[in-house]
């Protein structure tokens, strides 16, 4: 069908804008983090080499990863079974659940902090001061993304027919869930995992306002002392997440499933 828009000009325009928006910041970061201090002259990897020497940074990295792992556990134990269950047994609840899961998107981080601060004060007094308790809020923040990707994966296949087919072929309930249902929506689970990981490792507002030293908070504080190290760390974190994003569908089989999703 002919929209009548002069395609070539439009195409160049779009690609130009996109590149500028996405590549611009990346280039800025590489440039800044390797630029010499003052008038030293010549590029240097000083900032990158200094990453390992920052103790705060190292501990915050391990804290952030610990949080990420707990969030993943909550995802697998709470969100995935809930979504599968609602999909199979309570299809009428799908739309309300989707709306509810979208709410964290609509609630500004500040609002969440204000609402949840008393709870965290209580937790840090009575249970633990560790930033790991942030996993609770984060598990809520990832809902909009994980719910969507799971529900999209479930909508692509007739999961209840697959489950019934497995049953008639002699599979027990557990073998059906772990051998058929979970592998079938693996791409949805994986994309939920990746987005969640990116969010948890990148979250700043809430951890900063609740005064927990997560990776982003430490990067921010570091940025006040030595901007170049901060940028180098940011870039490293970013590349790490990218790496996961593109590396996950590695096996031929998983790619087959992803291809099926697209088709």
């Amino acid at each position: 069908m002919k929209l009548g828009i002069p395609s070539r000009i439009f195409k160049v325009f779009i690609i130009g804008i996109t590149t500028l928006y996405l590549a611009g910041p990346l280039y800025g970061m590489i440039d800044f983090s390797t630029k010499p201090l003052g008038n030293e002259g010549g590029r240097s990897l000083r900032a990158w080499k200094a990453i390992g020497e920052q103790e705060d940074l190292m501990s915050s990295i391990s804290v952030s990863f610990a949080i990420a792992i707990i969030v993943m556990l909550l995802l697998f134990l709470l969100v995935v079974p809930t979504v599968i269950w609602v999909h199979l047994r309570l299809p009428k609840l799908r739309r309300p659940l989707e709306l509810i899961c979208l709410l964290p998107l609509a609630i500004p981080g500040i609002v969440i902090v204000v609402g949840i601060a008393p709870l965290y004060r209580w937790i840090s007094i009575h249970i633990t001061e560790s930033p790991i308790s942030l996993a609770g809020v984060y598990a809520m923040l990832i809902l909009p993304f994980t719910y969507r990707s799971l529900s999209a994966a479930l909508a692509l296949v007739d999961i209840s027919t697959l489950a019934e087919a497995a049953r008639t072929l002699g599979a027990s309930t557990m073998r059906t869930i772990f051998g058929i249902v979970m592998p079938t929506i693996r791409s949805g689970i994986m994309s939920g995992v990746v987005i969640s990981l990116a969010l948890v490792l990148g979250e700043f507002t809430i951890s900063s306002l609740l005064s927990y030293d997560t990776l982003q908070v430490v990067i921010y504080l570091l940025g006040r002392e030595d901007g170049k190290i901060a940028v180098a760390v940011s870039l490293a974190a970013l590349l790490f997440v990218f790496g996961i994003l593109f590396a996950i569908p590695t096996t031929k089989r998983q790619r087959a499933i992803l291809d099926a999703d697209i088709a």
Partner: protein, 348 residues
């Protein structure tokens, strides 16, 4: 209940809220027989099949296979092979792995090489030996249903259950695969229950066809008997095309279009009614003084379908051999009468 029946559904009942999906259904299937359950949506045919598979619990009734009561046996212990309406291949397994799945689930696991051999044999049987390594999304709908059939047969099921397996396919593939299913069923000899809403499919594939309505069997008989001697007007109208024409009935025969024809059992026995006439039971001759006019001609190969406007304004559909239609075109005047075959006459 005949004691020789291999599958016995005895008095099955299941209500969903106020809807009676099964209302005391009785059905026997002999060993090696292919029975088709035919009916409009909501008649309970799928519920009956799912009950036999163990995927649907019942309010009352019992299910016997080979004289053993399996009413409360879990679906994964029943050894039923099932092919679903929707494509149901496991998307993360290729065709061979799908076919092997049921064998891997068995308590007494067969060896890996035996499983491979059996999977290869079955893919050969359904004509897809070259597709063993294809994933479901790389296959057409018809191929997927063939693999699903191979998967269901791989476990050497007691009963093969086919739940409208062809309804998602397009016309040509559907007819081909229907013939394939029948060929394979005859070769393997598996007792089979085939559920469909398509009467052509049911008549074309089954040893016996059961017509269901409101949760019970309205009639079960061989295809030709069902078509030629329906017991109720519902069966007459649901199975095959009929033209309702005014009839005067008396003494076991009816006058329709000026012709006296016998009536079948179940018809009204006296008074005025509507005779339900199959399209191929008409005789049509070109005649300038005829009582009817041809509106449309549709060529079906060996036969032609004529749409004819009768003098009284009724529009009927007639099917005659193509050879007899060569001198009949759109707008021709014709005389329409009936062959002397028994007809069903319902009250008005």
């Amino acid at each position: 209940m005949s004691t020789s029946a291999y599958v016995q559904l005895v008095n099955l009942s299941k209500h969903f809220g106020k809807v009676r999906a099964l209302d005391g259904l009785n059905l026997d299937i002999a060993q090696g027989e292919l029975v088709a359950l035919l009916g409009p949506s909501g008649c309970g045919k799928t519920t009956a099949l799912r009950a036999l598979a163990g995927l649907q619990d019942l309010d009352a009734g019992s299910i016997l296979v080979d004289s053993k009561d399996i009413t409360f046996v879990a679906p994964n212990k029943r050894n039923m092979g099932m092919v679903f309406q929707a494509y149901s291949l496991f998307p993360h397994m290729n065709a061979r792995e799908n076919v092997e799945y049921g064998l891997r689930m068995k308590a007494h696991r067969s060896s890996s090489s035996n499983r491979k051999k059996r999977a290869a044999d079955l893919l050969e049987l359904v004509g897809l030996s070259t597709h063993a390594n294809h994933f479901p999304h790389q296959m057409s709908g018809g191929q997927q249903q063939r693999v699903a059939l191979a998967r269901a047969l791989a476990i050497e099921p007691n009963v093969l259950l086919l739940d409208e397996p062809l309804s998602a396919l397009d016309a040509k593939v559907r007819t081909q695969l229907r013939e394939e299913i029948r060929r394979i069923q005859l070769e393997v000899g598996t007792t089979t229950l085939f559920v469909t809403h398509d009467q052509e499919e049911a008549l074309g594939i089954a040893d016996r066809v059961g017509v269901m309505r409101g949760g019970i069997l309205e009639q079960i008989a061989a295809p030709a008997e069902l078509y030629e001697r329906p017991l109720t007007s519902f069966v007459a109208e649901f199975v095959g095309l009929t033209n309702p024409l005014p009839a005067k009935v008396s003494g076991g025969s009816a006058e329709v279009l000026g012709v006296q024809v016998p009536t079948v059992a179940g018809s009204i026995t006296t008074g005025s009614g509507l005779a339900l006439i199959r399209p191929e039971w008409f005789k049509v001759e070109a005649s300038t003084s005829g009582n009817a006019k041809i509106f449309a001609v549709s060529f079906l190969g060996s036969t032609c379908r004529l749409t004819i406007d009768l003098a009284d304004g009724a529009r009927i559909r007639v099917q005659i051999p193509s050879a007899e239609a060569s001198n009949l075109g759109i707008g021709s005047n014709v005389k329409v009468t009936l062959k002397s075959l028994p007809v069903f006459v319902k009250g008005v």
